[in-house]
């Protein structure tokens, strides 16, 4: 373990110290300083001490990473307190922005330490991305607040969070309409029919050669064009959304499933042939298992496509609920927080959907080389 100082932490320390003597905003009385901001100065001092400690001793490992993360949290309270203090910030607050830059440095080092620890699913797959995500939200909040960006252009995460809490019932209603009714049904129908057709035309190279280029053509059609037509054909309610999703998800599944069915190696097939196995035996015992990674690939693509499809289709006509409806109407009502709240719900739902599929994939295709160490 070398004892050269850690320049990144040293830089953070210097920035923090410099910030302590610079103004952090302006009120009627003139420039304000950290010293006048009450107890948050203690957090900043603690962050300084920890940054100095890290700069000098170059600590390694999980504990050090967590300690630096704590330093960041302690320091981060300062800028947040300023946002609510009624000061003019923007360019009047170099002390505020220096602290933010210093915290960026410290966060980076903390993430580096955590990411570099011994393999650990909890730390690497959950803790590090979660910290990073929280950090992005924090920066968003500070920048939006600090630069006084109009709420109707971009609200901060805290405002969005408040709206999520206050409108939970409306969001839940929209979620039920869009996700549970449209997305899940459309996803199941589109992926399912794509898979069935793949099995059906698997034995006909003729149909495959006819249908696959057509698939390329259809996937080149932007869904936004299909949505108004489907609304016209299938009405306003969730049925037309399902139709849009089916059109969008059918071909990715067809193409992937066909590729997967043909992915078995020559030798693996010859083995089945040498056993004089029937078509269905070969399908069930060789080709379907072999196609699973491809099928999951399509399912993952389809999960994001179907969410997008449902929301877009709702732009073109819907009963007065649903996530797409909410987004498009609340923009008109200047209720931008509600728009972002709905987007947040969509993103969380989409990520969870994706994660569930990824876990399923891991469980069913555990044998695939990409999952082996």
């Amino acid at each position: 373990m070398s004892r050269r100082p850690d320049w990144l932490c040293a830089l953070a320390l210097v920035l923090l110290l410099a910030a302590l003597v610079l103004p952090v905003g302006r009120d009627e009385a003139g420039a304000a300083y950290w010293s006048g901001q009450g107890p948050v100065i203690i957090g900043l001092a603690a962050a300084c001490v920890l940054a100095g400690w890290a700069a000098l001793t170059r600590p390694q490992g999980l504990a050090a990473g967590l300690t630096l993360a704590v330093a960041v949290v302690l320091g981060a309270a300062g800028p947040l307190a300023l946002l609510g203090a009624g000061l003019t910030l923007e360019t009047e607050a170099p002390g505020l922005w220096l602290v933010v830059v210093a915290l960026v440095c410290l966060t980076w080092r903390a993430l580096q330490l955590l990411a570099g620890t011994a393999p650990n699913r909890l730390v690497h797959d959950v803790l590090v991305p979660a910290l990073f995500g929280l950090w992005l939200l924090y920066l968003w909040e500070v920048v939006v607040g600090g630069f006084a960006i109009p709420r109707v252009l971009l609200p901060g995460p805290s405002q969005i969070g408040r709206v999520i809490a206050a409108s939970a019932d409306v969001l839940a209603q929209d979620f039920r309409q869009t996700f549970l009714k449209s997305v899940l049904t459309g996803f199941a129908l589109g992926s399912g029919s794509g898979f069935l057709v793949a099995i059906l035309i698997d034995r006909s190279p003729f149909l495959q050669r006819g249908l696959l280029p057509l698939g390329a053509l259809v996937s080149a059609i932007p869904i936004v064009g299909i949505a108004p037509i489907m609304v016209m054909w299938f009405g306003f309610d969730w049925q037309s959304k399902v139709a849009v999703i089916v059109v969008m998800t059918f071909f990715p599944m067809l193409v992937n499933a066909l590729a997967g069915l043909h992915a078995a190696g020559d030798m693996e097939r010859d083995l089945m042939r040498s056993y004089a196995a029937s078509y269905w035996q070969t399908l069930l015992r060789l080709r379907l298992p072999n196609a699973l990674p491809f099928i999951f690939n399509a399912l993952k693509i389809n999960s994001t496509l179907s969410l997008i499809g449902a929301i877009v289709a709702e732009f073109f006509g819907t009963p007065i609920l649903g996530m797409g409806f909410r987004i498009s109407t609340e923009v008109g009502r200047m209720n931008i927080e509600m728009v972002w709240a709905t987007i947040a719900v969509a993103a969380v739902a989409g990520s969870l959907f994706y994660a569930v599929l990824a876990l399923g994939e891991r469980a069913l295709t555990f044998w695939h080389p990409s999952y082996r160490q």
Binding site: V152, M232, F236, G317, P319, I320, S328, T329, M334
Partner: protein, 311 residues
């Protein structure tokens, strides 16, 4: 020349003929203005553009502007272009609807994105619930066109006197197969196309001067458009970037729009405080789902129009 940006509420069409005419005929230039007209679209919210500084003046409907004002965008009406409302509900006769009382249990198409406020207060006035567990009427978020009526997915849809109504007619339905309820006649009319700008801009004397010249030239533009409708339509078509507008439709729109602009003895753009009060009363009338919760203060000014009239 002073630069000025105008954000429209919708795509280029005869609804906005006056502005295009003023630009093309050089009325703005005469006032030493270099005006940029930004077309809108279904998902462009003009107040958002104004809040972000993307436009100096926007065209919007008063309900939406007042709602935005409550949401923290300090919009002020500086001129009211349309005297009357062109909104109506168009129903098929074969649906059996004869009076607004028959709406109960029906499916009605409504535009959202800020256009739904007058409808909601109308339904409130009729005592019909539009949301909640057991709504009295089924509301559809009406899309971009009149298909729901043609395909009988809705019993009535929202139309403008100058636009969608004629699309229904073009689709082959005869006027006598239709029944229209004009918002004007139902006493729920609210003010439509007007100029709005932000309080900050109004405080700047240079900008206020620019706006006054703009309003003056615009009035001239509308006056010219109403008097030379064929030429105005041609100008609109020339400015349509999509190339999708049809001359016959725009001609009809021009003549309908002319009726909405007409009849302003104090000059085009003069906001009658009484009209404003009526709009506010209608909006505040909504009990279940109020559009605005309290009487707005400072939401309009005659400062600009007065300056414009002076010269």
């Amino acid at each position: 020349q002073d630069k000025l940006t105008l954000q429209l509420k919708w795509v280029t069409q005869a609804q906005f003929a006056g502005y295009y005419v003023a630009k093309d005929k050089g009325f703005y230039k005469d006032e030493k203005l270099d005006v940029t007209i930004k077309p809108g679209g279904p998902d462009i919210a003009p107040p958002q553009v104004a809040a972000g500084g993307g436009a100096d003046v926007i065209i919007d409907w008063m309900p939406a502007a007042l709602a935005s004002r409550e949401k923290g965008v300090p919009l002020v009406n500086i001129a009211q272009i349309y005297k009357r409302s062109g909104m109506m509900l168009t129903c098929r006769k074969d649906s059996g609807i004869k009076t607004p009382a028959d709406f109960k249990g029906r499916t009605l198409g409504v535009w959202f994105a800020g256009n739904e406020y007058p409808f909601l207060s109308w339904m409130d006035k009729l005592g019909l619930k539009t949301s909640g567990a057991n709504p009295d009427i089924k509301v559809l978020k009406q899309g971009f066109n009149v298909d729901p009526l043609l395909q009988k997915q809705a019993d009535c849809i929202s139309t403008m006197t100058y636009n969608e109504y004629w699309q229904v007619i073009d689709a082959g339905i005869k006027p006598d197969q239709l029944l229209v309820f004009k918002y004007e006649d139902q006493g729920v009319a609210t003010l439509e196309d007007g100029f709005y700008t932000t309080e900050a801009k109004l405080k700047d004397p240079a900008m206020a001067d620019r706006l006054a010249r703009f309003v003056r030239a615009t009035a001239k533009g509308w006056d010219y458009a109403v008097k030379n409708q064929a030429e105005a339509v041609k100008i609109v078509l020339n400015n349509d970037a999509t190339g999708a507008q049809k001359a016959n439709h725009q001609t009809r729109m021009m003549s309908e729009v002319a009726k909405l602009v007409a009849d302003q003895p104090k000059g085009i753009g003069y906001l009658e405080p009484a009209d404003y009060e009526r709009t506010v009363a209608t909006l505040l009338g909504g009990k279940s789902d109020p559009v605005i919760t309290k009487k707005p203060v400072g939401a309009w000014t005659h400062q600009i129009i007065d300056a414009a009239m002076k010269k």
